[in-house]
Symmetry: C2
Subunit: 246 residues, 2 copies
DNA sequence: CGACGTGTTGATCTCTCTCAATTAGAGTGG
DNA sequence: CCACTCTAATTGAGAGAGATCAACACGTCG
């Protein structure tokens, strides 16, 4: 893919995102190194990698994860367009996670020292980075609550509702379409919720038979949003809108 | 307690923390509103509270948590002196967590709009805030890995090791003392690891009988650090040092 | 002295895991 | 065009880690 001009970035024009000043866009443009493609299921950042650059996910889905030495894997959170990748690697020496493409993705690549430069030259953008970081943490908090205290049914309902909401904002629902893109395999769901693959399948099937949702052709449809919300014990937790570095 | 002069802050002089310039200290001083005490087991920030100020934990232990509507509670992470409290509340409209004192604590209170001011006037300090936020997220990441993929034994070993390391840095081990302060009840451990109280007790007891640790009089001693590390599947994950806003 | 919080232990119960086997679709090569 | 392979989804059966229920010990405190 051709390197896009940040000033014409189509992502930023989505209703989900707030405005940048033209100087800010210029700065972003000046620190953008490249724009790259990564194929589905390929690593973006290896677990333990320390010299990774910073990325903004431009298109496609990805996820952050950690693994134990015997291979058990936990997905920490899912990344959608506009999400920032690599702040933790820059900031913390310890406790590294990997990032992997879930679908084919396209990434904007930034100089790895931009964080400091941003803080010096564009406090507003730096503020946004802090915002995004804090926001990502709150997502992990939600997942931790699920994995620690919710039953398998509740966990899955929660995940489906939250991902549906995020996807619905980013991928405008066309016409009377009631479904959103949903590229996760059941293995991804299992690894994201601390469940086994088999139990994930059975639980998913149970919810589907109850008429609560349907996953077909890589799309998710919430057929009974009320029941889903109820099962998830999520009341009015509207997701806040991130301000991506784009 | 008397309001301390930031310039003379005893916390900052600990080897754990890096230097601030005198201008930075002046700025911190100027945005510091107060210094308050909160008794053990008392809320610092209520779940759902939106107008909370920002705090730095000056002394004592605290924890962040979320609860489900039926009362199930998940502790997200434990807070020790130097930790920052309240960034998420400021940044994200959704998904609020509570913060509660675990022991009696003393907190430095900052104006709630300092985040923006910091970014404008002291980029280096703002950078530190981003650092702390990212670092706190990596802590939650570790816990999520534990809760999602580790057995009860492994979870407890992991928690004990990580808390021991943090506490050992902050509360210098006196003389040939091999123990660190450890104010958590078994209920806290259970809520932090997604386990039931009973099972937490039995697992703790099992590890203790194996000679791996001892918890007496609010202090934790790792009697067999190697076995602990091995059980935790933690190899060389030295905790990075935070730069607190103090 | 009784109430309460914390820790301890035994006895069940069950949710979730592990093992195993089958189906269906997509890709590959001869 | 047809074996062959691989991945993802599916379903049944049995096993087990951890939950729940219940009782009791101990120290602190009003």
């Amino acid at each position: 893919m051709e390197i896009l001009d940040c000033a014409a970035c189509p992502l930023r024009s989505l209703p989900a995102f707030t405005e940048h000043s033209s100087e800010e866009v210029e700065l972003i443009k000046s620190i953008k190194l490249d724009q790259i493609d990564v194929k589905a299921d390929r690593p973006i950042i290896h677990e333990g990698q320390v010299d990774a650059p910073l990325y903004t996910l431009f298109s496609g889905w990805a996820f952050r994860f950690k693994t134990l030495s015997d291979g058990r894997r936990q997905i920490l959170n899912f990344l959608l367009p506009g999400d920032f990748i690599g702040v933790q690697q820059r900031m913390s020496a310890s406790s590294i996670h990997g990032v992997q493409a879930l679908t084919a993705v396209n990434l904007c690549v930034f100089r790895r020292d931009i964080l400091w430069e941003l803080h010096r030259r564009a406090p507003r953008l730096a503020f946004d980075v802090t915002w995004l970081t804090a926001h990502e943490e709150s997502t992990v908090d939600d997942t931790l609550l699920s994995v620690g205290r919710r039953s398998a049914e509740e966990r899955i309902a929660t995940l489906l509702v939250l991902l549906y909401k995020r996807a619905a904002i980013l991928f405008r629902v066309v016409g009377r379409e009631r479904s959103v893109p949903f590229p996760l395999t059941q293995q991804h769901i299992a690894d994201g919720l601390g469940l086994s693959l088999v139990h994930t399948n059975k639980t998913l099937r149970k919810l589907e038979k109850r008429g609560m949702h349907r996953i077909v052709d890589g799309r998710l449809e919430l057929r009974d949003p009320a029941a889903m919300l109820n099962c998830a014990d999520l009341l009015g937790e509207g997701p806040a809108l991130p301000r991506p570095l784009i």
